[in-house]
Amino acid sequence: MIIEFQKAAKYIEKNCSADDYSFFIYRSDEQQTRYAQNMITQNMSGVKYAVRLSVAYGNKTGMARINSLKEEDLKKMIETAQNIAKLNKPDPEYVPSAKKTKIPKTDNVSENTSKATMKDMVSVVKAVVDNAEDKKAFISGLVTKKINDFYMKTKNGFEGFDSSSEFGNSMTMADNKNKETKVERSVKDIKDYSVKKEIELLNSQFDALTTPKKIEAGKYNVILRPQAVLNFFSFLLYFFDRKTADYGISAMAGQIGKNMFGKNFTLLTKLDEKGLTAGPFSGDGVAAKNIEWIKNGVLNALTTDRSYAAKIKADPNFISNIIIRGGKATEEEMMKKVKNGLIINNFWYIRTVSNKKNEITGLTRDGISYFENGKVKHSVNNLRFNQIIHEATKNILLLGKEENMSSNVKVPTMLIKDFNFADTTTF
């Protein structure tokens, strides 16, 4: 563990006089190079710290957070948290801090990424700008590098440390007419990021776009590419809290153990999944574990924090990484499986329409193509969907190979029938 973390931890333990406490110390070394219209518009570098202390006197709690490891600042933080707790009202749902727990071993950091410099990042920008200029197009995006260190300790014996790394690039290429498409990916190890491959993918999406033809709202077969799958199903996690379900507020109410989703839909957390990182413990002091949240359409578990787990006498859990299981189908096979449909690169501005129905809305973005009889015919205008998430999973016809979309997310391409587009757009 980092020496400055140890020193700060010792100071907090020595000086915190509350009945109970837990704290974390976080350090993030970040570099971010932002580009737009084929030039760099922002470029940033720096290290950020956070120290957060939660304390309790009986069941009266308080919390303080600072961004410094200096003893004088730690002293103020301890005093502040303790004063808040002393003056606070009792919390009827208070649970003591986490006890000593066996934390799974994870491998979340790459030395290659740690060694990457801003020069490496600018070289990625140079490559994508050169490509855009060759295409007589404009490119915008962000290259990031992050090295994060996280240490957590409680008075009741929990102690955990995790280091993680991430290198990523998000880029949108557009012309002055109708073409606009995006590719984004982040990885743990910079050696797994191939700017050449990403440019090839970007170019293939860009070249496939034509002047969009008008298409009306309605139900369509859709091939959701991985970025669209990720953005669409990320919203499922907004409804994934056990307590909210048990209170009858979300669509998950009373659904554990039932076939709420389609049989082709499996969502899980797997700590040793190849190429993925996994947070080894939560900020609440819960050790990560493998969980099949949804298996072949059956809802097996919902996220449960320690406080609610104690109330319902269940094991607490959290989502450490996200895998949506895929299959073997190629896009060509998907296009042949149905008479016609739409290929969706991405969704945008997704929001909840109804918690109780599990219904969300959003728009297509970054290129949408119409296919018929197994072949792409032309691009079409963007559409707005209003769709119940679990209903969409019941209409999954084929699954493609899983792809790592970020350091802790892996999802496949999906063919889904009768996806509900409620409105057309003007472009």
Binding site: Q32, N38, M44, N67, I84, S140, E180, V353, K356, T425
Partner: protein
């Protein structure tokens, strides 16, 4: 002050054509009360500085939280190194800055009671009473109260000679009641957003009465009908609702950086491109939008922006025509040789300032008109209060909005409550369909504290405002 001259002198000695330093201490007290359980009672403090340099037409930015002259110099050197690398990928001469001069000044939010000095017990007592009021209704299964108290103490200095101190406060209470029955759950919130003021603003709000009202309305929504198929009818939107609509469909499209394509990879671009300036009919003739970073209670009001440009007031939409953008010193030169409108803001000391929406409001109607008179004058429509689901495309043209409370209007009367109402419209249809705006007696503000934009994402704050207004012949109905 020593650190300031060390930073600026060192930056210039290393070739910076321009440099600034922003020393910022942000204090934020947040309390979350879920039902009667205090989920978070915390005080967060972030203190540090960001140094921005422009060299050879490119920005470099670095930040630190260590306040020594050696560290300040190291941070400058890091920013210069970053700028040197950035300059390798630029178009033409790269970035330039709109003209500006230096200022020596100070600005503070006008507060009567410092919210950080109010005893915690007073805050928590109020919150508990509010949540108990909501939970007293049997069908209310969840009561939520968030209290967000904020202070930014900032010193900005630049090589133009600016030395500007600002001390900004806002307070933001938000309460939600959720009613549940077997096959439905419905929420209703009291959420006016943040307000640049002290604790006195909370005391004026009468939150206990609001708690009863929203609990009753959440239960009312539970039993309300859905609106049925989408069809065209009139919409009457209250100021709180319009705050979000204008934010998304006028505020973001008129940010100059979006117009220039600088946000293309994330937040998106804008349909309101420069050739449309002074020509494009954005709204009907009664639609006037003002950008106003001098508004005393405005969340974007800080005296000066993070480029050191003074707060200003200007028409963004004038008599329905696109008039001008919100701009920054680095975006404005791409449009013309004018001065920045002072919209450059960073959230934290470690954030790079970007082009943000100013305080933006719809001017009230000039003729005397009350919301009740507007309803009486409407044959077939829906009245919407508050914010709900909202979604708009990346060019800021096509959108779908919900709301928080809905009433069907028939023959000039509110006849029944509705639930799960959505309307679909676009630019320029929506603002051109505005045929009536209530007068200034009914003008209300709405403060946004979580406007997400940029890469990496920053959350900015600004105030909107409007009087209740009517929009003719809009597609409105259920979700399908």
């Amino acid at each position: 002050m020593d650190h300031i001259s060390v930073a600026l002198d060192h930056a210039q000695s290393l070739g910076a054509e321009y440099a600034d330093i922003r020393i910022q201490k942000t204090r934020r007290e947040t309390i979350y009360l879920v039902d009667l359980s205090l989920k978070n009672t915390s005080m967060n403090v972030e203190h540090g500085y960001g140094i921005r340099v422009m060299k050879n037409g490119a920005w470099g930015f670095a930040h630190s939280n260590i306040f020594t002259n050696d560290e300040v110099k190291k941070t400058v050197e890091s920013a210069i190194k970053v700028a040197d690398l950035s300059a390798k990928i630029k178009k033409g001469k790269g970035l330039t800055l709109a003209p500006e001069r230096g200022y020596i000044d100070a600005y503070s939010t006008k507060i009567q009671i410092d919210p950080f000095t109010v005893p915690l017990s007073e805050k928590v007592d109020l919150m508990l009473e509010v949540n108990k009021t909501m939970l007293n209704y049997a069908k209310i299964k969840r009561a939520f109260f968030m209290l967000d108290l904020y202070n930014d103490d900032k010193f900005f200095a630049s090589t133009l000679g600016s030395r500007i101190h600002s001390n900004i406060y806002y307070v933001y209470p938000m309460i939600t009641a959720t009613a549940v029955k077997e096959k439905d759950s419905q929420s209703r919130s009291h959420d006016d957003g943040g307000y640049a003021a002290g604790w006195e603003h909370i005391l004026k709000m009468n939150l206990i009465d609001k708690a009863s009202q929203i609990a009753e309305e959440a239960i009312m929504k539970l039993e309300a009908d859905e609106p049925g198929e989408i069809r065209r009818r009139d919409l009457i939107l209250n100021p709180n609702h319009l705050g979000l609509t204008m934010h998304e469909s006028v505020g973001h499209p008129t940010e100059l950086d979006r117009v220039l394509g600088w946000e293309a990879d994330m937040a998106g671009v804008s349909f309101a491109t420069p050739e449309k300036l002074k020509k494009y009919r954005y709204g009907s003739e009664i639609v006037n939008f003002i950008g106003d970073n001098t508004l005393s209670f405005g969340l974007a009001t800080a005296g000066y922006d993070d480029d050191g440009v003074p707060g200003q007031k200007w028409y963004i939409i004038k008599d329905g025509i696109l008039n001008e953008y919100g701009s920054t010193r680095d975006s404005r030169p791409f449009l013309d040789d004018g001065m920045s409108r002072g919209c450059s803001r960073a959230t934290n000391y470690y954030d790079f300032p970007i082009n943000r929406i100013p305080n933006l409001y719809l001017e009230p109607g000039k003729k005397k008109l009350s919301p009740q008179e507007l309803i009486s004058d409407t044959e077939d429509g829906i009245y919407i209060e508050g914010r709900g689901s909202f979604s708009i495309d990346q060019h800021r043209v096509n959108f779908q909005f919900g709301g928080d409370m809905f009433w069907e209007i028939k023959n000039g009367k509110k006849v029944r409550p509705l639930k799960d109402v959505l309307y679909k419209s676009n630019n320029p249809e929506f603002w051109n369909s505005c045929d009536a705006i209530c007068d200034e007696r009914y003008w209300q503000d709405f403060g946004v504290t979580n406007c997400g934009k940029g890469q990496p994402m920053q959350t900015a704050r600004m105030t909107h405002g409007a009087s209740t207004a009517r929009f003719k012949n809009i597609r409105v109905g259920g979700s399908k």
